[in-house]
């Protein structure tokens, strides 16, 4: 509750400013909505976000499918492939896309090789859509995979036994059954996409700019809080309308959006008559494919998913050569090679911010972990349902609101409280950003934990507190661990709030990266990405090794 206030208050104040700055009245809104450019910008924002969502779905679906149904190695590979981008700063990822989609980039080289004209993608909506969908991919895949996991294969088998070929069984049975996952993933992506600002700013040019960019530049460049707040409100209203519409349509709550659990599949989807007809038509087409025999291959979908996974991972690798660049420029391929940036990384200029970020992320993980878990327990297992609904909506708010707006809000509010340029301030702000993830992931875990264990404990004499400590906590530990990881990454990779709130005393790593990119074009940022990925790989390998060893140790004690 307290933490919800930390977030709600700044946002509320900001809302107030939209009607008070520069003078009292609706001037900002009339400027925003009366100006055809801004109206276009709003429409463009929606279109780009929708297109990115669609692309994320097209890429995410086969990947999610193999993450659930594929072999162990493929599953592991795909998980790594979609998590790895989280470990690279979004600024750097945008640069990777600039390289890939650029006029001399690999995509255009490929086109040239097959004799096609190069396509201008950078500084058009194409680049924004591509890289935004790359950014949104995990948000699409997580709910999709959760739905698929809860589905089982008996219905597809049934379809097959009834004479449906693989493609037809997929189109007529599997696909409609994953609709809840598709819906949840799409809304999440769409909502996140609408608030995007870094990607459109760096890759969109004037044709690809979005509302988020406008808000960002209005605040950063001209301090035009009035316009920014108005735009943010419009954005917020859009998001809210979409989310509410979604809830109406599917009966799903906002809480369920991010942390989809298996419950989706058990709810009976309503069939639209028109949808049914469309599916039948698609089914016919699929049937034709089946008769041709192209869909009989078991390997094809695996290869497809693996390829998509590799494509998702590819942009990561651009940073590796850059980290060995000889000159102080972010160019790919680098003009020459050296290890100087590795040397620079191990100086106070980088290690200090790294330490600050680790410290902040650590506290954020702990605080958000504890608060989010407690809140989830209260809402999922508590008795006060009305409070529960309110709390879950509040908890999800930061997820649905553009971070730039929140960041400005924090700045205004924290300045009053003397929290700007303190680690505490950043920790508090990050906690509100990380909380929705923890809350929804732990809620999902709790929801899928049968209450029978608590009842058993109670019948055996355990008080509520003991039940939570000795039964519930250990049993949802995996969810809490996942949630904590999310919380850690959210804080560790967060730049928007950090840029607003850091100052003389506190400088986080993303803020330092931002400096390096916007003021220096310093390849050390690539070193960080390589370093973080290497750390993650080491931790992962260590874990795998540990599992292996304990298995061996267990089987021959």
């Amino acid at each position: 509750m307290v933490v919800a206030l930390v977030f709600v208050l700044p946002v509320a104040i900001l809302c107030l400013r939209s009607v008070t700055e520069p003078t009292f009245g609706l001037e900002n809104f009339t400027r925003l909505l009366g100006h055809s450019g801004y109206r276009d910008s709003i429409v463009r924002t929606i279109l780009i976000s929708a297109a990115s969502t669609l692309l994320a779905l097209v890429f995410g679906y086969p990947i999610a499918y193999q993450m659930v149904h594929g072999g162990k190695w493929l599953r592991t590979f795909l998980t790594v492939a979609i998590m790895a981008p989280y470990l690279t700063s979004i600024l750097l990822r945008s640069f990777s896309w600039l390289v890939i989609l650029g006029r001399q980039g690999p995509v255009n080289k490929l086109l040239a090789q097959v004799g096609l004209e190069p396509v201008a993608m950078v500084f058009t909506p194409i680049a924004v859509v591509v890289s935004l969908s790359h950014y949104l991919l995990p948000l699409m895949i997580l709910p999709l995979a959760a739905t698929m996991r809860s589905l089982g294969d008996s219905r597809t088998r049934a379809a097959t036994s009834l004479g449906a070929g693989p493609a037809q069984a997929f189109v007529r049975v599997y696909l409609p059954l994953t609709k809840p996952g598709i819906q949840a993933g799409s809304v999440l992506c769409f909502v996140y996409g609408i608030g995007a600002f870094v990607i459109p700013a760096l890759l969109g040019g004037s044709q690809g700019s979005m509302l988020g960019t406008l808000i960002h530049s209005a605040i950063k460049q001209s301090g035009d809080y009035g316009l920014a707040s108005a735009a943010a409100l419009v954005l917020g209203a859009l998001v809210l309308a979409i989310v509410l519409g979604f809830q109406r349509l599917t009966g799903m709550s906002t809480t369920e959006l991010a942390g989809r659990s298996g419950t989706v599949a058990t709810r009976s989807p309503r069939t639209g008559r028109r949808g049914g007809r469309g599916l039948k038509l698609a089914g016919r087409a699929a049937g034709a494919l089946d008769r041709l025999g192209v869909t009989r291959s078991r390997r094809l979908p695996k290869i497809l998913a693996a390829t998509l996974g590799a494509l998702v991972l590819a942009p990561q690798f651009i940073v590796v050569p850059i980290s060995f660049a000889s000159t102080k420029a972010l160019v790919f391929p680098p003009v020459g090679y050296s290890t100087q940036w590795y040397a620079e990384f191990f100086t106070a200029s980088w290690l200090d911010p790294l330490a600050v970020s680790l410290r902040i992320a650590f506290f954020v993980t702990i605080i958000a972990g504890v608060l989010g878990t407690l809140a989830a327990m209260g809402v999922v297992r508590g008795t006060a349902h009305r409070w529960g609904a309110l709390t879950s909506t509040l908890m999800m708010l930061p997820l649905l609101f553009p971070t730039v707006v929140a960041a400005a809000g924090f700045y205004v509010e924290f300045e009053r409280l003397g929290l700007v340029d303190t680690e505490l301030g950043i920790v508090l702000a990050h906690v509100t950003l990380a909380l929705p993830f923890v809350f929804s992931v732990v809620s999902a875990g709790l929801r899928s934990l049968s209450p029978v264990y608590e009842r058993a404990a109670s019948s055996l004499g355990a008080s509520r507190a003991v039940q939570l400590r000795r039964i519930v906590l250990p049993l949802i530990a995996p969810s809490i661990a996942t949630a904590s990881l999310f919380a850690f990454l959210t804080s560790f990779d967060e730049s928007t709030v950090a840029i607003f709130l850091s100052g003389v005393h506190v400088k986080t790593l993303p803020k330092r990266i931002f400096e390096a990119l916007s003021l220096e074009t310093n390849p050390t940022v690539a070193v960080i990405s390589v370093f973080v990925m290497a750390c993650a790989a080491v931790v992962w390998l260590g874990y795998v090794l540990f599992r292996r060893l304990t298995q061996i140790w267990r089987s021959n004690p």
Binding site: R455, A456, S458, S459, L460, G461, S463, L475
Partner: protein
């Protein structure tokens, strides 16, 4: 191990879910040391009843008393009731031993006492060897035994079990039924047992309450329910029965839909709205057609239309012109019966084995 324990008394206990009445003004008393079974079809309110007793569900109205004391405000962790859940609910993150130690730990027993009592309980269910395994490493039957051990290790006043054998295969289930019953008798603990399996209810219980739509249709010993069903529902739910649609014809006489007459034994009072008569297949004997019925017996002929070989017995379906299809069960005392499909046979039964009810069976 004898326990001081009280009678459980449900006093017009009611539970509503919205409009839906799950348990409908239940009043019953369970005696100390009794093996009491709640039997009934799916959705009849069995689990709800049990959960109210355990304290996981609050009654909408009415009171549950133990030894005269209302337990409404006793939280479930203070009720001292051992519960065996349908899916066992063993704590998956604790070893068998830790699962068993849990309730003792909650009661702040010393380490030595805990060790001793856990060992005793493990011995009782013959699971000493598996003490250090995790629940996932146990088979279904073993899990069940641990669940029982955990429910008894802290000497609860009552044991509640919700279809604990539902998931097991028949053979295993029968063995565990015997074990559970023996355990309950050894411990002299009051057992409230929920099942939808009539055979299970009959083979284990001192008394059975047969529930339907949140109400108790009939309560009594298995024999009472089987032999003196008070409604067509009871007659049909327990065992197999030939249910005949009838109308009262004359005192002691019913006319059957198909045209025949059915005699009742002397002095049997028949409900005014008598509409269903029931005769158990095992109470009917097949005879040669020539045989004439002795006094107190009824008799009729028909054609064998179906024979169902069931191992220990055969279930014949005999089509009688007057009564319609009648099932007759004959045990294989010596492996063979002379009656074949198509053959015309006589059927003979005691008039006192005919039960009459006022309303039709509900399913």
């Amino acid at each position: 191990m004898t326990r001081s324990q009280g009678a459980i008394h449900f006093d017009t206990v009611r539970k509503e879910y919205g409009d839906h009445v799950a348990v409908d003004d239940l009043t019953l008393t369970i005696e100390p040391g009794e093996f009491f079974t709640v039997l009934g079809p799916s959705g009849s309110g069995k689990t709800t009843t049990l959960m109210m007793l355990a304290g996981f569900t609050e009654p909408t109205s009415g009171a549950i008393r133990v030894d005269g004391v209302d337990i409404a405000h006793v939280p479930s962790d203070k009720r001292n009731i051992g519960v065996v859940f349908q899916d066992y609910a063993l704590f998956p993150h604790m070893s068998v031993r830790d699962n068993l130690a849990f309730p003792l730990d909650m009661r702040k027993e010393s380490r030595a006492v805990i060790a001793e009592r856990v060992d005793r309980a493990l011995t009782l269910v013959d699971m000493t060897a598996a003490a250090d395994r995790l629940p996932d490493q146990l088979s279904g039957g073993q899990k069940q035994r641990i669940a029982v051990a955990r429910a008894i290790v802290f000497d609860p006043a009552f044991l509640l079990m919700d279809e604990p054998l539902g998931a097991l295969d028949r053979k295993l289930r029968q063995r565990l039924q015997v074990e559970l019953r023996q355990l309950q008798q050894a411990l002299k603990v009051t057992m409230v047992y929920v099942t939808h399996d009539q055979e299970e209810a009959m083979s284990m219980s001192d008394r059975v309450a047969l529930m339907n739509h949140g109400r108790i249709e009939q309560m009594g010993t298995p024999r009472e329910l089987y032999e003196q069903p008070r409604s067509a529902f009871v007659a049909d739910f327990l065992g197999t029965n030939n249910m005949l649609a009838v109308r009262p014809e004359a005192p002691g006489r019913l006319s059957v839909e198909n045209g025949g007459l059915l005699a009742l034994d002397d002095g049997r009072i028949m409900p005014a709205d008598a509409s269903v008569a029931a005769v158990r297949p095992e109470r009917i004997a097949l005879t040669d057609v020539t045989a004439a019925p002795p006094a107190g017996f009824s008799h009729c002929t028909g054609k064998v239309t179906h024979r169902l070989y069931l191992g220990s017995h055969t279930m014949y379906t005999v089509h009688s012109e007057t009564l319609g299809p009648v099932r007759v069960q004959m045990q294989h005392d010596d492996g063979e019966h002379p009656y074949r499909t198509g053959e015309t046979v006589g059927m003979i039964w005691r008039t006192r084995d005919v039960n009459v009810f006022g309303s039709t069976a509900e399913r």
